[in-house]
């Protein structure tokens, strides 16, 4: 599996540093700024709709297996063939099997993160079946042999100059770095592929359990083309895409499109219910739906269940201060941004993927604030940090039952509206007590033992301050009131001297701890006259 921009063996820190040092990438990332506030429009403009959307997403999580069965019944009733895939390999095996039985050799695809997750295009290629991405952003990263960096705008990391240069290799002639010209070229190029496609592969934004309808959201209209031209259509659908009713779309769609791009609706919605019917002149003769599990069902009933409510809008990426600087490839994962930091380790069957991701967050909460279905992303990151102390697959180990009465614990969720503390849903993630593990860090245990007693704290503070001033060769004068934080005492540290500050002092000064801390000053306040 080669993915252009990720050097094997690097850490997220190294990739992040490289990304930040890349001027072309940093320029390209500024284009994402226009989407920073789109999620706020949902929270401010349609709070009740947002609450309903969040509730709809929780409805299926109570019994996800049951809902998948209901959806399967409805899909079969409409004439689709339904398959269940436990693992990525299962998906690829099923899809290749269908393709081979149908004699298909040219797949046209619309954008699907699930197919990225299972590496379908690569698997098809190994089976001698050519697959072309038709979503323009996906096509660009396919040509570049990269993963999508952003789930909504896969090529956001590229400037138009870079795109023109890249596509010129396909076109054989120099394409101008002009948006309209590239669009026109892409239209013609991809039309050739569309017209020859004999198998259409799509994802699904939602699948309705009552009508058995596959709902695909695009602006390009490429899902319409992928589902009308080929003789066979396969939809690869992660199990959490099931929604109870067609009517639920009245809340889910506006929330999705506004959170994703700020649009009130996307330019195209493709709603497929079964294959071609008798007498119809286009559309697939065979419709297959492959439900993908890949560790999701194991999360139901656990404190991580909320992550399955995700509707893949990308809002959390757009607001994340880290993502906006390092871009998706630094994550070296299929799913990037805050939701990717959580989903990647949770779904990892070996427990190897994404272990370093949850720590690469400032926990600022902008993601949780932006999430239109109120996933408490910060809570999930914190829980993962604790659970990842133990090796092995986290998702399969997650066993905490959610609090049966979510309101029981007096929880202030990360406010969903951003400015409304105390409101927002009490969900599995934020209402369940934190689970204490057996594998604790010794340094932190010692720290807690010392710092949970007043004497231990005072002694360690004094020792630290004395050691620091010895090493620095200076004593922090007592700062009078009105001084800037640390101004009177800031000094350049010797980074070897202080555990944990190597990462700090490489780029920032660190103030000296005061030998006389606040409590000493308090005891002396009369004498000091304050």
């Amino acid at each position: 599996m080669s993915h252009g921009l990720v050097t094997p063996g690097t850490t997220i820190g190294e990739r992040a540093a490289a990304a930040i040092a890349d001027p072309g990438l940093q320029r390209a990332l500024r284009n994402l700024d226009t989407r920073r506030y789109t999620a706020r429009a949902v929270a401010d403009g349609m709070p009740e709709r947002k609450d309903r959307a969040a509730a709809i997403r929780r409805e299926t999580l109570g019994d996800l297996e049951g809902w998948v069965k209901r959806a399967s019944t409805a899909l079969s009733g409409a004439g689709a063939q339904v398959h269940r895939a436990a693992t990525p390999d299962d998906v690829n095996r099923i899809v290749i099997g269908i393709a081979q039985r149908a004699g298909a050799t040219r797949v046209i695809k619309s954008k699907s993160m699930a197919t990225e997750e299972v590496d379908l295009v690569e698997a098809l290629g190994a089976a001698g079946i050519r697959a072309i991405e038709t979503d323009l952003g996906e096509y660009i990263v396919q040509v570049a042999d990269e993963r999508p960096s952003h789930m909504i705008t896969p090529a956001i990391h590229k400037t138009v100059d870079q795109i023109a240069e890249l596509l010129s290799r396909v076109s054989g002639e120099a394409l101008p770095a002009d948006h309209e010209a590239i669009t026109e070229w892409a239209r013609a190029r991809l039309r050739e592929e569309f017209l020859l496609g004999d198998l259409g592969v799509t994802g699904a934004n939602f699948v309705t359990a009552d009508t058995g309808t596959i709902v695909i959201v695009t602006n390009e209209g490429n899902a319409d083309l992928c589902t009308l031209i080929p003789r066979v259509h396969i939809a690869v659908v992660p199990v959490e895409k099931v929604i109870p009713r067609l009517s639920d779309l009245a809340d889910l769609l506006p929330v999705l499109t506004r959170s994703a791009t700020g649009q009130d609706i996307s330019n195209y919605l493709t709603m497929v219910t079964g294959p071609r019917r008798a007498g119809e002149v286009d559309g697939p003769e065979e419709l297959h739906v492959v439900f993908l599990d890949h560790g999701r069902l194991a999360l139901v009933g656990t404190e991580y269940e909320d992550m399955l409510a995700c509707i893949r809008c990308g809002a959390c990426l757009n607001v994340c201060p880290v993502f906006r600087r390092i871009s998706g490839h630094a994550y070296d994962a299929v799913y990037t941004g805050p939701m990717g930091k959580i989903l990647t380790p949770l779904l990892s069957a070996t427990g190897e993927e994404g272990r370093e991701l949850p720590a690469a967050s400032t926990l600022c909460g902008a993601c949780a604030e932006a999430c239109p279905v109120e996933i408490p992303l910060v809570d999930l990151l914190v829980r993962l940090r604790a659970d990842l102390r133990t090796s092995g697959p986290v998702g399969q180990r997650a066993s905490a039952r959610r609090s049966t009465a979510p309101g029981e614990l007096n929880v202030t969720p990360i406010s969903s509206g951003g400015r409304r503390p105390g409101e927002g849903m009490a969900t599995a993630a934020n209402a369940t007590p934190l689970q204490f593990g057996r594998r604790r860090s010794r340094p932190w245990s010692y720290w807690a033992a010392v710092w949970s007693t007043p004497r231990g704290y005072r002694v360690s503070a004094r020792v630290t301050a004395r050691a620091a001033s010895l090493i620095a060769g200076r004593r922090a004068p007592d700062a009078g009131s009105g001084a800037a934080a640390g101004r009177a005492a800031a000094v350049r540290w010797s980074s070897r001297a202080w555990f944990g500050t190597r990462g700090w002092s490489a780029s920032r000064d660190l103030p000296l701890p005061s030998v006389r801390g606040f409590r000493d000053r308090w005891r002396n306040r009369k004498a000091e006259g304050w």
Binding site: T362, C364, S415, G500
Partner: protein, 246 residues
Amino acid sequence: MTHSPRVGLFVTCVVDQVAPDVGIATVRLLEAAGAQVEFPAAQTCCGQPAISAGEPEAAARLAQHFVDVFDHCDAIVAPSGSCAAMVHHWFSRLLPHDDRVATLSARTFELTTYLVDELGRNDLYAGGLGAPLGTTVTVHDACHGLRNLGIHDAPRSLLLAAGAVLIEMDEADTCCGFGGTFAAKHGEIAAPLADDKLDHAAATDARWLVSSDIACLLHLEGRRRRTGIGPEPIHIASLLASGLLA
């Protein structure tokens, strides 16, 4: 609300050890607002560093000590949104069986919201207690205070009433990059985020970069000392206390 409310000061471990002047300023502001301040000397730390590091057991130990120390106080005030948010957001999940936690969380406040929303006092200099600041400021909205506790208007209200000229920076509510253990573990990202914040602050030409969280300020000041860019970071308590005449 009593006329002279009694407040237990939670000074926070960082202020205690690295920026005691912020603690002193906090006391002076609370007293100027008419509160009676007690300092429970047995206090240590709210446990936030441990939560950030993924060590809930360690955090719970500190949280338990906090509850034991402060439970007798009518109100608990900290010059830190993130510490107050720690109490509000995490204590109930760390100590689900301690039934004091719910009410204790409800009486734990960050300084500016306590002054403005609880005491109803945004004009601390009233009655000749202080002289107008007459300086320009820009505000950085510290994340946990903003998103967990809704701290946004209270600091601005205090600054304006104190006679400061407020110039809003772009992306005032974007994270400064501190993020707890992230600040040391991922300095390669934390420092550029500090640079972004300092750039936005510099663009306002304000004299002071004000925030209610000492950690953000240490991070920003530490970076500013290397780059020379941006207004001088200062804790809102320190700035407001500088205008008090007594």
